[in-house]
Amino acid sequence: MIKLENVSYTYMSGGPFEKKALDGVSLHINEGEFIGVIGHTGSGKSTMIQLLNGLLKPESGKVIIDGQDLSEKKVNIRDIRFKVGLCMQYPEYQLFEETVLKDICFGPLNMGLSQKEAEERAKFAANMTGLPEELLDKSPFDLSGGQKRRAAIAGILAMEPKVLILDEPTAGLDPAGRDEILFKIRDMHKRMKLTVLLVSHSMEDVAKLADRILVLNGGRVEMFGRPREVFAQSARLREIGLNVPQITMAADRLRAAGVDIPEGIYTVGDCYRILLPMLT
């Protein structure tokens, strides 16, 4: 589905502040996978995902989506963007229409859908992100920060992309709202075979949701594997400014203290299932 072949990207190439953000990244993501992307700030996460829908052009290497090489002339980049829905980091600033509903319709209308269809999709998407109906006729600038975020995410969801990329969608949301959005996304991923890339700084979220975790460090792929494999390397993760989920840390400490608890615990649920029989 998504393939990167030796992709590099440099910002302000040739200038005094030249910055190599990605350096020889190669990876392969299958259809229907849920990928968590983690990395220290400045590790190149946002840069990488912007390459996936052609917002940035790689300096070298290939980006292949659904068998189409994005650098080829005949590829219509807008079609790629409808297929790969990208919600940028802090997407609130993309709101511009008079009403929230109109704003969510912007993407679907650009796809050439009819007004009616677009509105249907917009309402559905708003519901998915937990935006109450009565807000849809308000001006997007009158919403709270969290509501704006939801509206912005709904604007991407309404395009019904095959691949959904979210760059820290839950930064700055309240815990309940965060879980609500993430689980709706997981739900969509399961039901509609949506391929999801979730960039997050929360090891807990990534551990709970992702099939595989991509760890970036200094513009290179540091690790790419199942949560179990990634979080087993806690020392290395700490070295590159990341961590393992709290529950993994707790389990590791318990094991060190002599409790018989297996390795590779990374969700509260896992831990609960193992500890409960011991306690009763």
Binding site: M12, G14, G15, P16, Q50, N53, L55, R78, R81, F82, G85, L86, C87, M88, P91, Y93, Q94, L95, F96, F106, G107, N110, M111, F141, G155, I156, M159
Partner: protein, 269 residues
């Protein structure tokens, strides 16, 4: 395209030009701008080009980088050239239908284009070698004698500092908004003039809103730190003229003399 704008960017360094006092540099650039318009013939521009080339060489800024700064206004330069080329009345040398080129037109077009290029290159060199803070500090000090006639020199300088400081921020912001809207399928660089103008709406509205919000936040932040304007404010770095500045003035005076001499000797071309 946004990436090509070099105006307002600072290229840190420790060259002769970097070490000049900002006041010296501002005075030199004023003299330079006057000269750009004073020059009457191409030999004068040659002298100016030599002067500029020497400055660039000394400053350690790559000429390629400086010339790239012309790219965003290339269209403007070309238009100016073409308009002057075809629309200046005078002695005809070529005609096709209603289009005609005159001797005066060629001369005028070349002059206008050269002037624009020299202006941009010169001012870019100034901002590339002078940090915005130093630049506005220098401006404030140069304007301070006018305080007597109630010119708010500190406020003017502060406004300029803020404006310069926010150019890159706003460019970044524009870039981000354009990306976010393109990700939703907005087609920004295709279609006719009308549809292009319409396509600007999703970019301009968020941009204005964020600019206003930023201004508001900045005002609050400044107030929180008890900013009250220039009265009684001391500064972290006092500006001092040094030996390099004397050299700079001499250099400038020689060039000015040369330009005037060239004008007098060769006259109008």
């Amino acid at each position: 395209m946004l990436k090509d704008i070099t105006l307002g960017q600072y290229f840190p360094g420790d060259s002769f030009i970097h070490r000049l006092d900002p006041r010296t540099k501002i005075l030199i650039i004023i003299a330079y701008v006057v000269m750009v318009f004073l020059i009457q013939n191409f030999i004068g521009y040659l002298a100016l080009a030599l002067f500029l080339a020497l400055c660039v060489a000394v400053s350690g800024i790559s000429p390629k980088y400086l010339i790239r700064g012309l790219k965003p206004i290339l269209v403007f330069i070309v238009f100016t050239g073409i308009f002057n080329l075809f629309l200046t009345p005078g002695e005809e040398i070529w005609r096709w239908g209603f289009l005609k080129i005159t001797v005066e037109g060629v001369r005028f077009a070349a002059f206008m284009v050269l002037r624009l290029i020299f202006l941009i290159l010169g001012t870019s060199l100034l901002t590339l070698t002078t940090s915005p803070i130093a630049l506005t500090d220098g401006m404030e000090r140069l304007l301070s004698p006018f305080k007597k006639v109630h010119l708010p020199s500190h406020e003017i300088a502060m406004m300029m500092t803020i404006a310069l400081r926010f150019i890159p921020t706003l460019l970044d912001e524009t870039d981000k908004i354009m990306k976010a809207q393109s990700a939703r399928g907005a087609s920004i660089d295709s279609g006719g003039i009308f549809s292009r103008a319409k396509a600007m709406v999703p970019i301009l509205i968020p941009l204005f809103i964020s600019a206003f919000r930023r201004a508001d936040e900045l005002a609050t932040a400044m107030e929180c730190r008890c900013y009250r304007g220039g009265e009684g404010r001391t500064r972290l770095y006092e500006l001092k003229f040094g030996a390099v500045d004397v050299l700079g003035w001499i250099y400038m005076a020689v060039l000015l003399a040369a330009v005037i001499a060239i004008n007098m000797i060769f006259g109008k071309f």
